[in-house]
């Protein structure tokens, strides 16, 4: 029997070990992932190419499937894709990154996440953090690729001041994720 050594991402665990994420939002993120994966007819165990310094194939697992009711509720595919991308970014950072998801801040109707390796300061809670900048692409096209998305994000996040950013772009077709630190 072949034994594979793929790293794993388990979407079902998106709510675990991330204290800044409430149960309801975790469930919402998980369902968004299922909708995007189902949109391209992927099955649990599908391989995703993750580029984070080096390129590695990661196996993605989940339980449950997209129902018509869910498809109706998550019809705004742009938002659903962004939320699903956010779930993947949090999972990759939690399981395969060098950071913990430490903090969140409100940003309009979404949440910004901040990552930190160590932070024991209970007052200056964001001072040793990097901001997680997430973006999702449902299907890559000639004009909308992960590379172009990263370039656009880099351009917007002009490096000035002491805020570090980690950019994560998740693409659902082809299934891949690119992570860079700026």
């Amino acid at each position: 029997m072949a034994i594979n050594n793929y790293l794993k991402i388990d979407i079902d665990t998106v709510g675990h070990g991330i204290p800044v994420l409430v149960e309801g939002v975790a469930a919402y993120y998980k369902e968004s992932c299922i909708i995007c994966l189902d949109h391209h007819s992927y099955s649990t165990g599908v391989l995703m190419m993750v580029s984070y310094g080096i390129e590695k194939e990661v196996q993605v697992f989940w339980t449950g499937e997209a129902t018509d009711k869910m498809r109706k509720a998550y019809r705004d595919m742009k938002r659903t894709t962004d939320n699903a991308a956010c779930a993947f970014a949090l999972l990759i950072m939690r399981d395969h990154g060098n950071y913990g998801i430490e903090q969140a801040s409100a940003d309009g109707s979404t949440i910004d996440y901040y990552l930190s390796s160590t932070n024991d300061d209970d007052t200056l809670i964001f001072n040793y953090s990097a901001r997680l900048e997430v973006s999702g692409i449902l299907s890559e096209t000639e004009h909308n690729t992960t590379k172009k998305r990263i370039q656009a994000k880099k351009k917007r996040l002009k490096k000035d001041g002491n805020l570090k950013d980690i950019i994560v772009v998740v693409c659902f077709n082809p299934l891949k994720t690119e992570v860079i630190e700026v």
Binding site: V22, A104, G108, N127, N162, L163
Partner: protein, 362 residues
Amino acid sequence: MTTVRELHNKAMLLAQEAIIAKEQGDRENSEILARQACQLEEQAANMVPFSENSEPTRSILYKSAASLAYQSKDFDKANRLIIQGLSGFPPYQIEEELNNLFDQVRFERNLRTREAFIDSDAIEITIKGDSVGSGIIPYSELKKRIDGMVSIFDKTTLRLLQGQFGTRLKQKLFEPLIEAPKAGSFIVGMKLEVLPNKQLPLLFNAEIVINEIMLGIERVNNNDEVSLREQMGSNDYYSHFVSMTQEMAPDGKKINLVAFTSRNKTVNLTRNRDDIPIVTIAETDKEQEKETAIVVEGVLDYANSQNKKSEMGLTTDNNEQYTITVDAGLEDYVRGYYKRYVRIYGTGINKQIHFIRLEELD
């Protein structure tokens, strides 16, 4: 003593509950939760010393609190919190985000003050974006929104008087008027004036038409397809309303905000036009799925609406000609692209295409 971290964490839990409530359509509860979260986040921000060493924590917390105040529609408080955040030593990115939030808050406050000055038979369209100056706007950006609103005026009047889509009223009742643009972002007023010597039906007036349109736009913006379909009554009215609203929506590049203000309310059309699907999954029936998907680029060059369904012609760069069949509700939308270079998505066989959607190409 409660720490900044504890207060902030409690605030963020409430902020996420507010997002969930909003997603579930419970806007009132969402605003209450955002207000509670804002109080805790403000307390946390106030505990951080005013010093350069406190950054970026201090400005991030004030930005977060201001954002929650904005969500709870407490614009005065949002303004105060933004100013406190800017008064410290925010890093560039946070400073920029605080400034953007300040613009949004000021914009919302202006819209709300304007409501009191608008007549009940009028609607104001506010357009904001990189290509809009104070009182100046590219002709094409204004035209598509005015054409969209005039088309919605006509069809809403017809629908409310129980006319079937595609028919006409025996006599025209209203004349849409355009008021002189006002400085600000770019604000244009439109008014529905009853034509001279025309008698309106009993219990029917321009205010009813305006209120109906505002409700529809709000539902498009909230992605509330079920209520909008119920409101529109038929597929044709539904497709027409959504397609015209999509035409008026911001593109996220040149125009980033379009708002509609009537005497009773303000509706911000914040969804980008690309996020407003004209043909939904429900409308793509089985017949169409069996046909071949076709994508073709060219110039829309003739229109023929003698049949029940409209036909338009498209000529490609290679001089190939296609016939595009358009559902009744989407006629005005597609006609708006006459003589323009577009990419058409549809289904069909050979050079006969059943229209699904289009994109204008530069």
